[in-house]
């Protein structure tokens, strides 16, 4: 089959570093081609070169059999290349229709031809199963819908080759399935898709061909049927991979966190958490499994003092925390890795050292007497976190938004773990980070447990949950519906408890 895109010896240097070092890529027409690699391996740079956002220093690009050199995305678009960025570029207060045509307005007699545009969009939607309401305001849409609009935008401009930059990073599992359906539909219609991903099970499911990039070099191009996820991961990292397994038990019978019939409402005031009771012991990792939206988030917020309990209680070391604010809880030794790091975990425009003190801004060594910020001490402490947790950054004065997602997450994990904790709440601690960083986080959680922390782990990654937890509970509709032994449960079993297909009473 002919190549839609052929890259040969692409090299891109930034001051002091080579981002792409003679990368080769051969994408056949009409295939779904995955590009895998750790954060910082050079995937995004490569795609930016292909899309004309950055020029390559060396190398040859051939698109549809024709050698090209792009100086701007416009030229790439003209050749039928479209890119869906990881962060959507939509105007919230415009309608879907307006967003799609923005910058490529079909005009009749100098007037925007809205009926024609609407017809075209609906047609595209029908052809590829991309259902959207053209009149909806973008701000009212879910993430998955926004992504569909980005894809339609690209198709509207006539793209035959689509670049999707980590399209699944922002999606929940159901939305991922929907996306994959759309991608297959596009492929069936003759489109070529290049997509960047580091969730290996997804890559294996959807890709026809996989190219692995490591440290700016092409490592291998493989077919999914020839490799396992472990093989792929090892190709990406270049070494043997750790597994999320907790070895010897360090569980004690000292209860650190105890919830008794804890109940809470969501923001709209409807009950979201109903009479949850659980105990977490010193040296124990308690995994909470559950489909998102079944009360886990509310439970965590209640634990952290950000959401009032409507009844019941939560205690720390035997003391009821009623009336404690978040700061008091943190000062008492509860660490918190939030599930959404950009929303709850980071101050994007602040330097790393000011992000490191977030949550500990009332504690040593960041402040003296709980008031005066110790800039030097804070910087050097942050430096230690950066080193210990392998946060890759030029300095601790860089703003957090400059770091890749994985490095941001490592900083968050590092700062929480470097505090003096008795308990740690880790909500999706490895979401959206690459396998290397993932392994590092697992190792930290394991060590935390070994040093006697009580850890609550919430994750959508069932292998992670099963591998790390000493004990598992399943939450469904605000209740704990099952308590399971992770050594005896498979992801499949867990899944059926999470959806309510199995119940503990029925099985045991």
């Amino acid at each position: 089959m002919a190549s839609a895109v052929l890259l040969e010896g692409i090299t891109k240097r930034f001051p002091g570093v080579i981002a792409n070092d003679g990368v080769n890529l051969d994408v056949a027409e009409g295939e779904i081609h995955a590009i895998c690699g750790e954060n910082g391996a050079g995937k995004s740079t490569l795609m930016k070169i292909l899309y004309g956002m950055q020029p390559a220093d060396e190398g040859r690009m051939v698109v549809n059999g024709q050698e090209v050199k792009f100086s701007s995305p416009k030229e790439a678009i003209a050749l039928g290349i479209g890119m869906v960025h990881q962060h959507f570029m939509l105007a919230d207060n415009l309608s879907v229709l307006e967003n799609v045509i923005l910058g490529a307005e079909p005009a009749k007699n100098g007037i925007i031809d809205f009926p024609e545009a609407r017809r075209h969009i609906i047609e595209l939607g029908e052809d590829y199963g991309l259902k959207v309401g053209t009149r909806d305001l973008v701000e009212s849409l879910e993430v998955g819908e926004r992504q569909r609009i980005e894809i339609i935008k690209v198709l509207f401009r006539g793209a035959k080759i689509l670049i999707l930059d980590e399209p699944t990073a922002v999606l929940v599992p159901q939305e991922v399935e929907e996306l994959f359906r759309n991608m297959r539909e596009l492929k069936a219609n003759g489109h070529t898709i290049i997509f960047i991903d580091h969730k290996l099970d997804e890559v294996l499911e959807i890709a026809d061909t996989i190219t692995v990039i490591r440290a700016g070099k092409t490592i291998d191009t493989v077919k999914p049927e020839d490799v396992t996820a472990r093989d792929l991961a090892e190709l990406m990292v270049g070494s043997e991979l750790p597994v999320p397994e907790t070895r010897e038990s360090t569980v004690t019978d000292h209860v650190v966190i105890e919830a008794v019939d804890a109940a809470a409402d969501d923001d709209a005031g409807s009950p979201k958490l109903r009479a949850v009771s659980m105990k977490v012991h010193k040296g124990e990792i308690l995994g909470i499994a559950g489909v998102e939206g079944n009360g886990q988030a509310e439970f965590v917020e209640a634990l952290m003092g950000m959401r009032p309990l409507t009844s019941g209680s939560i205690s720390l070391e035997g003391v009821r925390m009623k009336g404690w604010g978040t700061r008091q809880r943190r000062e008492a030794g509860i660490g918190y890795i939030p599930e959404d790091r950009t929303r709850r975990g980071l101050l994007a425009g602040f330097p790393l050292w000011e992000n490191a003190m977030l949550g500990q801004q009332s504690m040593e060594p960041y402040v003296r007497n709980g008031f005066w910020i110790q800039r030097e001490a804070a910087r050097s402490h942050t430096g230690k976190i950066v080193e210990q947790f392998d946060v890759r950054t030029p300095s601790v004065d860089v703003a957090a938004h400059a770091l890749s997602g994985g490095n941001q997450q490592k900083l968050i994990v590092g700062r929480e773990m470097s505090a003096e904790l008795v308990a740690l709440i880790a909500a999706h601690p490895t979401r959206g980070i690459d396998v290397g960083a993932q392994a590092a986080v697992w190792e930290e959680l394991r060590q935390a447990r070994a040093t006697g922390l009580a850890v609550i782990l919430i994750s959508a990654d069932l292998e992670e949950l099963i591998g790390l937890s000493d004990r598992l509970v399943v939450m469904l509709r605000g209740d704990i519906v099952a308590e399971l032994d992770p050594t005896k449960v498979t992801p499949r079993d867990l899944g059926s408890y999470m959806t309510g297909a199995s119940t503990q009473g029925g099985e045991s």
């Binding site: 570093v17 440290a215 700061r327 709850r344 910020i373 950054t393 030029p394 400059a402 890749s404």
Partner: protein, 377 residues
């Protein structure tokens, strides 16, 4: 370092350049000679007396800018500085006129009263936001109207001291409540100053600037405030109570706002009368924008605006141009500055991201190299 300096200076310099350019065009259109206008303005503006006038003008602008910036830092649009300072000034003027205390104490009492009144009035908007979720822009606009057209009018009518002049004025503050002029100090370094006095309140304003900078950057309270402004949910997760922060920002901003009218009151007028300068609260918004909420930036912004205002008097007198040209310049400076800031900020972010990506790639490359070497040996 050079780059850092570039990020800081590029935007304001571009803004002033663009403003000069556009003003020149406007002047040409108005049939004036821009060069002679600028030359007159420069000559007049660099006289010692004009510079002192400029500082007197910049002092309240600076305080107003700081008051606005405290809110901005926390993502609050406290546009109620106007009402806060006018109300604070008239009450402080009344209290100051009615009491008799030793000099330093007298001035201190007036300052404290003004800060309390300002904080109270601003705190009302904070209270409404915290308890009733009323947007502070709405509430402060209303509170401005209530303060200026309602309360201050009423207080003026009941506190007016009748005399032969047509002016409406409160009783004068006794001399112990005046802020001494700094002319004597300045004259040590320069020459005799004619006719104008450098208001002593500039020292208080400088102290407020230092306190603002230290509080915002060097204390936990300031950190909490900035964190709440940058990302409220994250700040909340870190243990910062968003409601407390709103109240803190409004109270602090209001307290500083309360000072805005005092340089004039204690340095020159010594009584509240119809001449009392209004509109400084809104000017402060422009100054805070220009100064990017930074203590030194706001000082520069206040000085630039103050200088344009004071040095421009000569334009009309010499028949160069109508003084409205200055308002155009101020407007263009803000517009150009905001655009230039946005461009520079984007550039800075891109550079930072590139540097971080480079660092990451570097580590990966080193690791790779180490591995290859290890494999080879």
């Amino acid at each position: 370092m050079g780059k850092k300096l570039f990020y800081v200076l590029a935007a304001p310099l571009v803004a002033v350049g663009v403003a000069l350019f556009i003003s020149s065009i406007v002047l040409l259109f108005a049939g004036a000679n821009p060069l002679s206008a600028y030359q007159n303005m420069w000559e007049f503006g660099t006289r010692l007396e004009t510079l002192i006038e400029t500082l007197n003008r910049a002092t309240p602008l600076y305080l107003s800018g700081i008051a606005v910036a405290i809110g901005f830092r926390m993502n609050l649009f406290n546009i109620g500085i106007e009402g806060q300072y006018v109300l604070a000034a008239i009450i402080a003027a009344k209290v100051g006129a009615e009491i008799n205390l030793p000099p330093i104490l007298h001035v201190t009492v007036i300052i404290v009263v003004a800060m309390i009144v300002g904080a109270f009035w601003s705190g009302l908007a904070g209270f409404l936001k915290v308890t009733r979720n009323v947007h502070e822009v709405i509430s402060t606009i209303m509170l401005n109207a209530i303060a200026v057209s309602g309360i201050v009018s009423y207080l003026l009518s009941i506190w007016d001291v009748p005399d032969a002049s047509l002016d409406t004025a409160l009783k004068e503050i006794p001399e112990s409540g005046w802020m001494p002029s700094l002319n004597g100090f300045v004259e040590i370094f320069t020459r005799d100053i004619k006719r104008v006095e450098l208001w002593g309140f500039i020292l208080v304003a400088a102290a407020v600037g230092v306190a603002y900078h230290v509080l915002i950057n060097r204390t936990r309270v300031g950190y909490d405030l900035r964190a709440s402004g940058e990302n409220a949910p994250a700040a909340e997760a870190s243990g910062t109570d968003p409601k407390k922060m709103i109240m803190a920002a409004m109270l602090l901003g209001g307290a500083v706002a309360g000072l805005v009218g005092l340089p004039e009151l204690l340095g020159d007028a010594h009584e509240y009368n119809l001449r009392f300068t209004r509109g400084l609260g809104f000017a402060g918004i422009a100054v805070a924008l220009l100064g990017r909420n930074h203590a030194v930036g706001i000082a520069i912004g206040a000085f630039v605006f103050g200088w344009l205002d004071r040095a421009s008097g000569v334009l009309e007198v010499r028949g160069d141009a109508p003084r409205e040209i200055v308002a155009i310049m101020q407007g263009v400076i803000i517009l150009a500055a905001v655009i230039a800031y946005a461009v520079v900020e984007r550039k800075r972010r891109e550079d930072e991201a590139a540097a971080a990506a480079a660092a990451t790639a570097q580590v990966l490359a080193e690791r790779q190299a180490a591995k290859e070497q290890g494999g080879a040996s």
